[in-house]
């Protein structure tokens, strides 16, 4: 299997920043249906700060790249996505340790650890119509990046039919049905970007 280094993860997060910038309007629109209409713009602010920081002072190890990105998201997003994605990346970064290169499988394990931490922080489970509905199937498919991107996309699509059980959308009850969860939609972008960067290697 291939090795993952800091440059690979910097390319990933740079591509996420581009995708979130491109899709911010759609994410905020999804969030205005069942949330508080800030998801896309909050995430764009966060990932812009991640991309800028990685460019100015590129960390040398994969673990440090993810830990930096996680800390930055926690401090810049301003909505629930900040601590959730921030915890995912920070915990994944910690799990990667200080090696300069890790095999794909190790990145997969680290991201699974990060997603578990998201579940603990938010208290959500699969089927609650949250980002976990995209994240859990995605990390289960790693280290196959293309399969992970597809699983995340399908997981996000499947949230349309679900009733929200966490967050502000849960107050809507059955009126939350029929809309894609914005967090699941942005999670699908994360894994689509990972697959694109991996395919370009």
């Amino acid at each position: 299997m291939a090795q993952v280094d800091a440059a690979f993860l910097r390319r990933w997060l740079g591509r996420v920043s581009e995708a979130v910038g491109r899709e911010a309007g759609r994410l905020t629109e999804l969030d205005s249906a069942i949330g508080d209409a800030d998801h896309g713009h909050n995430l764009r602010r966060g990932f812009d700060a991640v991309a800028a920081g990685l460019e100015n002072e590129p960390p040398a190890t994969p673990g440090a790249v993810l830990a930096f990105a996680g800390r930055t998201l926690i401090s810049t997003v301003g909505g629930a996505a900040g601590p959730l994605y921030g915890t995912l990346l920070r915990r994944a970064g910690k799990a990667l340790g200080e090696e300069r290169e890790v095999p794909d499988e190790r990145l997969g394990e680290a991201l699974r650890t990060g997603v578990d931490a998201v579940g603990q922080l938010g208290g959500a489970k699969a089927g609650d119509k949250t980002m976990l509905d995209a994240l859990l199937p995605a990390v289960a498919a790693l280290p196959d990046y293309a399969a992970a991107a597809q699983a995340a996309r399908e997981g996000a699509e499947a949230t349309v039919a679900l009733r929200a059980r966490k967050g502000r959308a849960s107050y809507l009850g059955e009126r939350s049905e029929g809309h894609m969860d914005p967090g699941a939609a942005s999670s699908a972008l994360l894994f689509a970007a990972l697959a694109e960067v991996a395919a370009g290697e």
């Binding site: 800030d38 629930a80 920070r90």
Partner: protein, 154 residues
Amino acid sequence: MSDTPLVGLVLVSHSREVAESVARLARGLAGGGVLAPVEPAGGTPDGGLGTSSEAIVAAARRADGGAGVAVIADLGSAVLTVQALLAEHAENAENSEHAENSEHAENAELPRDTRLVDAPFLEGAVAALVTASTGAGLDAVAAAAGEAYAFRKA
């Protein structure tokens, strides 16, 4: 500054106005005498609705007199942001040999004994401030704030 440090209180809300108003209300209802520090951390840096981790850390550092800091948050991202900051704080304390992090630690770190208290925002703030102002420790302040959940209104 009194001789014995008092537990400080931080109120984290999505709204700057709510955090400031609840802090003012708690001070008003806590009565005369020496009051424990209570610091609002509300809204985003641009004044919008949301949560600012910088504002939370800064408020906690202002509220810290050495006896610990009790944080009460309203909902959603306010709660999650405090929890994420505390998790990071605990890990950094665990492996404090991380030399590159100690630089950040100077101004980006929560005070040592910072605790997120499970309490209703307004009632918990009043209960916590009254209790903290008596010189009670962090455990007692947290318990008093949490007990505010039990005051039935109907």
